[in-house]
Symmetry: C2
Subunit: 162 residues, 2 copies
DNA sequence: AGTGAAAAGGCGCACCA
DNA sequence: TGGTGCGCCTTTTCACT
């Protein structure tokens, strides 16, 4: 068995990529509209999307919101230095309870956990930092405040742009 | 003019928040389905969504993809130390040409630009770092590789969770 | 601002190439 | 795998509240 076609994710073809590109721009586009762009009939598009969902490539569909318009104007990176024996699972359960946390990743280097948060204002951010610093496994924190967001394409697929 | 209802973004009410919560979970949900949850008729839901789009709160709808399933398994934070006189505009135009860049922000502290990138593998990541380091305005870079993504809710609205 | 009904159009399935 | 046809549901508009 040289190739693992079927269960595993073989590279998607140009049609799949084109469909994902359309969905990334407007996830509420009708299958007919997408089909018109990628030269496919609506049912054919739907079947490919269903297949992509089943394969796990497509995890779902979301709305793109403007955080500032919702009153969340403050953003920061909080680096967490943790006690040596802290497991990723411990970090995860602790950190995912914060609605302010946008992303959290264990990283290489002297920092153990890189946490990205969004808060309503500086006062709110300060409280979040204090709460994170008070977590039992946290030894020290280092905060870096975002001045301006130059680029932001979070859920956008990099594979569709090069 | 005491209140600025209409053009400006007054705080959204509970109904708007409930609708956005539904859309954040499934942006392809029908207006009827959303209406069933928030106790509203389909046309009423549509009008509120249209209003939220017009207000700029809703910027659009996207697909949530699994980067790993697309073959983008390597992630990193690249901190850029720039020459003193570099404007944010210069940084932005340079950095947004990279399809690998997920986000880029000017930040406080000794680092000038915090860049988050996604690459296919380490070799690819290395090339991106080298290209960024070769940008004329970049003095030095510091890379931090993501070991595991503990939390990831990029376009998800924090306002709907607390 | 929300409801309800009617027209237009998209969806989803079965079937064919 | 992709295309077609048809029943059904959704979207969309309009008059009414």
């Amino acid at each position: 068995m040289h190739h693992d076609s079927g269960t595993r994710a073989d590279a998607l073809d140009g049609l799949d990529e084109a469909i994902l590109r359309e969905l990334s721009m407007d996830a509420r586009a009708s299958y007919a509209e997408i089909g018109a762009v990628v030269s496919l009939s609506a049912p054919a598009v739907k079947r490919r999307v269903d297949r992509l969902r089943a394969r796990g490539v497509v995890r779902g569909f979301t709305v793109r919101l403007d955080p500032a318009a919702l009153g969340w104007s403050t953003e920061a990176f909080i680096e967490l230095f943790c006690h040596g024996s802290t497991s990723p699972a411990t970090m995860q359960t602790a950190v995912e309870r914060y609605p302010e946390v946008v992303s959290a990743s264990t990283v290489t280097g002297d920092v153990d956990l890189m946490v990205q948060v969004r808060a309503r204002d500086m006062r709110h951010l300060e409280r979040v930092v204090e709460r994170l610093a008070a977590e039992p496994f946290v030894a020290r924190t280092r905060s870096t405040i975002v001045l301006s967001a130059l680029v932001r394409r979070p859920e956008v697929p990099p594979a569709l742009a090069d």
